[in-house]
């Protein structure tokens, strides 16, 4: 778990820009994440919020929980709205109508608003390079409307529109990897975070806001109502998600992957699944299947981390090895053979080649580079 020294209140911005009296469910992890994000950003921010839990629990006319300038327009367009805000502030500053200086532009939405209905407007805003930060508060289903599946719902989870039954396991598809989609836009900063790790979340939000250009933070927001677990274990659930590797925390800074927490050994994912009503129907073999998927994704992530900043060639994990690479590894291509020989200190001129030293046996282990 995150090690923060004691006397935590002294370490954080005491300012609360999200007032109590909000209508979030008891034990909501998402509103906690919003609270941390606002602590990290301070008062100098304008927010555009997609329709969803955070909008509906915070803005019942004629009241508001927000102490920052905040706008809600629709479900799928928070990124487009913030694009307009950002552009307006740029030209107004240029024309001397507002004071110069940077105001953080924040767009936020749930997993539905981000990975489903709002994916297009988010992609557009990321691609156009607006100077803004998008935070996805991912509680893994449409919780606001009563727990319907989204593309961010994990495999095997029970939701009201993908319920388990005689012919169904519940969610049949794998969780959409939004952070990777954001990173594919080649934006300067992408990170994953979780409300169980407040200091990490605050640091990432701050970093994301300060970066020039678009940034994306994907926050796992534990939802006792939709996940069907006790309200007091919200923090514990987030920790289990991270420590089991089902929701790893990492950053992608200018394309370089960096693991926030590396674990020599991941917790069994079963520990995480067993505590939640939404996975109660899963049999052991299904849980094993999930475990295998988690292990595979973890290795994939570690391989990406391993590649970051490495000058020497890095072993390619079996899962992502291409045909050419495989051929090269097996010494089947002339070019590959030459390169391999060079790497191993072989002389390739002449008919006879004598190894100067015995070539090291190539390891198939993929996690070797990942560990630092």
């Amino acid at each position: 778990m995150e090690k923060f020294s004691i006397y935590a209140p002294r370490l954080v911005n005491p300012e609360e820009n999200f007032a109590p009296g909000h209508r979030a469910c008891i034990g909501c992890g998402e509103v906690l994440a919003v609270r941390y994000a606002l602590k990290a950003l301070g008062p100098n921010v304008i927010a555009a919020n997609a329709t969803g839990c955070m909008e509906i629990i915070s803005s019942c006319l004629p009241t508001t929980s927000w102490k920052i300038p905040w706008i809600h327009v629709l479900f799928e367009n928070a990124s487009a709205v913030i694009s307009g805000v950002e552009a307006a502030r740029k030209v107004l500053a240029r024309r001397g109508k507002i004071p110069p200086g940077r105001v953080f532009c924040l767009a936020m939405g749930g997993d539905g608003a981000t990975s489903d209905i709002g994916l297009q407007s988010l992609s557009g805003a990321l691609e156009r390079g607006h100077d803004f930060l998008y935070i996805c508060f991912d509680n893994e289903a449409y919780m606001n409307t009563g727990v319907q599946r989204s593309s961010s719902t994990p495999y095997g989870a029970s939701t009201t529109t993908a319920p388990p039954g005689k012919l169904s396991i519940g969610q049949w598809s794998q969780k959409k990897n939004m952070a990777a989609i954001a990173a594919a836009h080649n934006i300067p900063y992408v990170a994953t975070a979780c409300s169980s790790y407040p200091f990490d979340l605050m640091a990432k939000v701050k970093k994301a806001a300060e970066v020039k250009g678009p940034a994306y933070v994907h926050v796992l927001s534990v939802c006792p109502t939709g996940w069907r677990h006790a309200t007091d274990i919200t923090i514990q659930m987030g920790r289990l998600a991270v420590e089991s590797g089902i929701f790893p925390l990492y950053e992608v800074e200018n394309g370089r992957y960096k693991l926030t927490f590396d674990f020599p050994k991941l917790r069994p994912v079963k520990q995480y699944l067993k505590l939640q009503g939404r996975f109660r129907h899963l049999k052991d073999e299904e849980m094993d299947k999930i475990q295998k998927q988690v292990d595979k994704e973890w290795l994939k992530l570690k391989s990406l981390v391993g590649m970051a900043g490495e000058k020497k060639p890095v072993p390619v994990p079996a899962q992502v090895e291409g045909r050419a690479q495989r051929a090269e590894r097996k010494g089947q291509s002339a070019k590959g053979k030459a390169q391999r020989a060079k790497r191993q200190g072989l002389k390739t001129s002449g008919t006879k080649t004598t190894p100067t030293r015995r070539p090291r046996k190539k390891s198939k282990k993929v996690s070797r580079r990942g560990k630092k």
């Binding site: 004691i6 006397y7 007032a19 109590p20 909000h22 992890g29 009241t63 508001t64 407040p198 309200t231």
Partner: protein, 96 residues
């Protein structure tokens, strides 16, 4: 909303709310079935309870201990669960 009664004549422009954070008028404490009680002999004043409160309604007293504002506290029990020294207990409302 302009001050005065909640009639259609009292809106500002497009229903703008110009009193930041005025949701704090709304009492959520009524949702609660249990409430957190601190045992200050065990409290090390670390503030983990304050950090993890989703409302947030946990504040530090002048002596450095913590208490929950029961006007808002929904009784989730996160503070009690996360307290390092088990200084917080959730008690049923009726028992008080």
């Amino acid at each position: 909303m302009a001050d005065g009664p909640l009639t259609w004549k009292n809106f500002i422009g497009g229903f703008v709310v110009d009193k930041p954070g005025n949701a704090a008028e709304y009492q959520t404490g009524g949702w609660r079935s249990q409430k957190p009680v601190w045992d200050n002999t065990k409290c090390i004043k670390c503030g983990v309870c304050y950090i993890y409160c989703p409302e947030p309604c946990i504040r530090q007293t002048a002596e450095g201990y913590f208490e929950s504002d029961l006007f808002y506290c929904k009784g989730c029990g996160i503070c009690a669960r996360e307290c390092w020294t088990n200084a917080i207990k959730m008690v049923q409302e009726e028992e008080v």
